[in-house]
Amino acid sequence: MNTYKVHSLSTVEKRLIRLGIAGLFLFESFITSLLPPYSLKPLIKQIAFIGARSMLVIIVAGLFVGMVIALQFYDTLLRFGSISLLGSAVGLSLIRELGPVITALMVIGRAGSAMCAEIGIMRVDNQIDALECMAIDPYRYLFSPRILAGIICVPILTAIFILVGIFGGYIVGVILFGVSPGSFFQGMSDTILNRDILMCFSKSIVFGLLIVWIACDKGFNLHLDKHGAYGSEGVSRITTESVVLSSMAILFSDYLLSALIL
């Protein structure tokens, strides 16, 4: 499946073919992850890598994002005399947009780039060929656990981000600026609907999938992007590409999902 003729095709055709390959890659990894035999150990390892080790970054980021939006909203709402809305403003903006998007961007920077580089190096160093030669399916061995871990971890990280963010908003709004804690939380629980939670959840699942898909596909199919060097320069190039592409994909699909659900 690695041999296809691209030499006489136009750029658009090449891109379409590449997109098709990426689609097949996702399909294959996803299907293999649903079929037995299931093995828990690699999945747990990936959850530790994508999820557990991103916790600290997510908590710190969540805290400061929550604090800064509380600060900004406090200043804005003060002008309209509606300080009581602070809780719902912080909660809604975190749950609908900032939580899923910033968590996804943090995971791209921390785990997506590392994953892409790791798999790219495995490709360059023939380790993926070696897997094939040992009759070990790279989709099952490398990608299924990563894709599942992405889908599992990103929503949980998003939830943690939002929780810490609300706490950050509480520190600024209630403790620093003296908004009453009752109105802060009451406003929040009044305005946040199930639909908002659903939006947050579906976004974070899609983002989790996108991050792992783009990072793994870029690394795995490094040898197909022939316009650059193959060795270490190739790895650095595809890692950059994967970070840029997955950030773009996150922001684009964020708009798409918001428009669909709202």
Binding site: N2, N126, D129, A130, C133, M134
Partner: protein, 266 residues
Amino acid sequence: MNNPDIENIIEIEGLNTWYGDRQILSDISLNVVRKEIMVIMGHSGSGKSTLLRHMIGLSKPESGSIKLLDKEITSLDRKELHKLRRRIGVAFQNGALFSSMTLQENVELPLREHTKLDQNTIRIMSRLKLELMNLSDSESLMPAELSGGMLKRAGLARAVVMDPEVLFFDEPSAGLDPATSAELDDLILQLRDAMNMTIVVVTHDLDSAFKIADRITVLDNGRQIITGSKEMIRNFPDPRIVNMLERRAMDDLVDADDYLDKLTRN
């Protein structure tokens, strides 16, 4: 699994491969018989590594047929290919060990993935192979801590841990000093004699080739010059072979106009 009826372990016929407009291999036909050590020789860029990749089904040729253990690998699907690959072992040039695992975990990986043996048996089997490769003292080291020769031997240990019928070895002596590379040659001979393996070795090293080979195939610019015994190669009158044996550079064959054209081309 061992079917003694198949004498031809590998049969290649009319193999052609292009990369873009450049033909990498043209009309290669050869066979490898059971328990033989076939050495594929050639300069860098002669297409020998590509030929190896075709034989193990890592890339598909544009035309031609490749039969490995009596199966036409150009038309196998992924599942059948994986089934067939359990019967072969491939040792890569740089070892291609997984850098996140220790040497022992690397060697144990195929056993873990393909057998239901218990931990102790797996350990014993992997130690047997590591011992054979003289690596039993280094089993808990990471690949980054190993020297080039050790990496190759470790890759070889991993390739033979499932006791394959056919072993493919890419450039055993590349990047090694003569003594270490002689050690590897002995190991290859030992594997054939002790474990009855059929072995295909790709190399550019003349000494190593003549030491281990039963038959040699010489490639030049993607063309098969000759396949035959060591004697045949030594007595073959083709100037490319004579040059190779005498380690003369090929440039005395270059046409003067052609050379000038190459230098002045934009």
